[in-house]
Symmetry: C2
Subunit: 303 residues, 2 copies
């Protein structure tokens, strides 16, 4: 009957098979095992955020080159311990998990932003400038071109000279009020469902979760409209938010990200586009931007 | 500062605003309030599955017209109480939640399928035949055409004369082993993340979750490869799975689905494609198949 190790899907491919091995699409694991050390990037610890939750650590890479003023404000908030003790205040199914000060809308109770700014220029898109871009071949419903820039899924409109980080699964955005300049990074959200690409160009993207999405995605959904928790005790309290740069070396999370301009990344994308093996008999032949997870590894472990 | 009722996103639009009301995109709530009763469909109770979990009820509509042999086998399994006491055995982040017999791969321990069939013709796609189809205007990365057929997100290739239900958030598929005919409906999965459209045409789609996705999506992710639970106590036990047709009227979940060939559905899609208001200043102008949730309502409640 149904083999438990292979009940459905992707990793069936990892099972050894004696025949026709050459015709089968290699698995990401096989491809990564053959990667060279220089295909991996160690993120700058000044751009790496550790959010320690009761369930474990979430590691976020800030989009320093895309939203520099937001990155700077978030660093200020982190270094002044703004986020320590704040909470997961909202989980809306198939949309976002949001964290920050539960009393942020109550002037009398709201936590001080300290020396961080209360408003910021929107930084919703990036105009001009140089940035790495590995374009994907299959187009996109929403934008003229899509691809990757370092770990970030990027969409762009060459005619308009604009580029922006797309709201894919794991993208971290800056919550705001109605006004475009009302976001300051003191409340952030992570995408936990189908990419809501209609948010693109309407919100600033602060970064991307590199590790720990499984904690942010599995909290109970909130009962109020938009997924806000109706009972304060449902909110999960954040133990601390720190920059990796401020954490003693022994407490850091060893982490490397596959370079998206590497041959191995191209091979991983191609293997997913055209996976064909005993299980997948009809390759998709295509891949959507938000269906690609950029591989992350612990360099202290053997490949 | 950040208004809690409006910290980020979609439902900000629901806030009343005095000026420029006419220029603003109506919200889904506003559009649905103006719908007519005949725009709503009451699913056939013979195609409606109630899966009662400790957290609440999941309602699934079987894709009778798309995978009829799977629907028939699942009905047999349900009516012989196969699923009662089976478990959620796997939750893989950004992919699937899967349920069935945890001992399904152990012939000595596996639950009997009773009079249900152990293998079935694949039914991965539908060739020819008539079906309703409301086409979407913005194309698709994976298929030549996409749209809706009743509640189901459908992709199709007119040249090949083939159509299939797409693996969007909430799609329920039939887990199988390597062989294409090894799926029988005794283990099912629901998509809980970014639509893995590479599964399309490689697996049979049994139906779609109409209500209760927030239970299936929020279980802790499993620690074994592919998200299988490494500890048996992590598995959630399913209280019962029944067909609505077999449930006394008083215990049924009142539920109607917006017809996807209705004017109101078209208006809801268009409002999401081109949302423009105080919050969304740059409408996407496009929409992806899997970004559309078909509205469901409780007809016993006032709109």
């Amino acid at each position: 009957m149904l083999a438990r190790t292979c009940l459905a899907l992707a990793l069936c491919l990892a099972l050894p098979a004696m025949a026709e091995e050459a015709k089968k699409t290699p698995t990401p694991k096989e491809l990564l095992a053959k990667s060279s050390p220089d295909e991996w990037r160690t993120p700058d610890p000044a751009n790496l955020v550790y959010m320690d939750l009761p369930q474990g650590r979430v590691v976020i890479e800030l989009a320093q080159d895309w939203t520099p003023q937001h990155a700077a404000n978030i660093r200020t908030l982190i270094r002044e311990h703004y986020f320590d003790g704040t909470q997961v205040i909202r989980v809306q199914d198939n949309f976002v998990t949001q964290w920050g000060d539960a009393d942020g809308d109550d002037k009398a109770k709201a936590k001080s932003l300290g020396s961080a700014k209360e408003t910021l220029p929107p930084e919703f898109t990036r105009k001009g400038g140089k940035y790495a871009f590995t374009r994907l071949p299959d187009g996109d419903v929403y934008a003229p071109e899509v691809g990757f820039s370092d770990a970030f899924p990027v969409a762009r409109d060459p005619k308009a000279g604009e580029a922006w980080i797309a709201h894919c699964y794991g993208t971290v955005g800056v919550a705001r009020d109605v006004g475009a300049e009302t976001g300051n990074g003191s409340s952030l959200y992570a995408i936990i469902g189908q990419a809501p690409r209609n948010l693109d160009r309407n919100l600033a993207v602060a970064g991307k979760v590199l590790k720990g999405m499984e904690f942010l995605s599995a909290y109970p959904r909130g009962g109020e409209p938009m997924g806000f928790y109706d009972k304060p005790e449902q909110r999960v309290t954040i133990k601390s938010v720190r920059l990796a740069a401020d954490v003693p070396a022994a407490e850091r999370t060893p982490l490397q990200v596959l370079r998206t301009d590497s041959k191995t990344f191209a091979a991983v994308v191609e293997a997913k586009r055209n996976r064909k093996d005993d299980f997948y008999t009809r390759p998709a032949g295509k891949i959507d931007l938000c269906n690609i997870s950029v591989p992350v590894r612990d360099p202290s472990k053997k490949p």
